[in-house]
Amino acid sequence: MDKPVEQTLAQAPPDLASEELSALYQENSREIYYLTLRLLGDPQRAEDATHDVFIRAFRKWNEFRGESSPRAWLYRIAINYCSNLRQSWHNRNVFATEDEILEKNAPAVTASPLRVLEIKELGGRIQKALDGLSEEYRLLLLLVADKELSYEEVASLTDQTPDAVRGKLHRARKAFTLLFQKDTEP
């Protein structure tokens, strides 16, 4: 005798072949992989993180209420995952001092564009510049770079107000530009 439909559904594992989950992966995997890659700074760890983020998301998909966009929801899972990995006294304290130094030394206006000659080296240079920032600045820049996220969503993901995001973003841009140019220019 066949199982009742409800029982079959309850027991069925989430299936990547299902249209909904497949679309969720197709539409967001690049962004999640990129965020984890730049937050963790290691392709293998980013691969593991992306895998784990989507596993968690698929398992919790039925609980997703649509209060945020699926992208923002996935970002939240990814941010929590990375922050659990990275959390340590050193990470929380040392970079704060570096931000202060960077802000002090940053030029008043970063008018000059960020120049890149060799695209193949771009990833490494970006990583180096991001690694010099605090976790907060790094996350802000990476989230704001995603045009699908509004300032309100970025604010919600980083637990602050949109105005605070704007203020910190200004300083994060300056700090990133300084680090990036330092590494680029002869």
């Binding site: 029982q7 309850a10 027991q11 594992p13 989430p14 299936d15 990547l16 992966y25 995997s29 690049r30 962004e31 992989y33 990129y34 890659l37 730049r38 392709p43 691969e47 992306t50 895998h51 989507f54 596993i55 698929f58 398992r59 564009p113 960020l114 120049r115 890149v116 000659l117 695209i119 771009l122 990833g123 970006i126 820049l141 990476l142 704001v144 770079a145 995603d146 045009k147 509004s150 300032y151 973003l169 994060a172 841009r173 990133f176 530009t177 990036f180």
Partner: protein, 72 residues
């Protein structure tokens, strides 16, 4: 509104004299850090292994415990 500036990318033609000594080079200019990151993100592909691993993991996913199934 998001801080946006037009993405500037320009191909710089080497002068004729330079052409002999070096091949054509491309200089990319980005107005903001976000532009650099967007460009980099577009160049970054998700490894195929992620989807394969996901598929395997989902197939291996354990069934809910009997008492959860029984209680509904």
């Amino acid at each position: 509104m998001k801080y946006e500036k037009k993405f500037l990318a320009r191909e710089e033609q080497a002068s004729e004299s330079q052409l002999q000594s070096e091949s054509q080079r491309t200089i990319h200019e980005f107005a903001t850090p976000e532009d650099v990151l967007r460009f980099d993100a577009k160049q970054t592909a998700v490894p195929d292994t992620v989807a394969k691993r996901l598929k395997r993991s989902l197939q291996r996913q354990p069934q809910r415990p009997w008492w959860k199934r029984w209680l509904g």
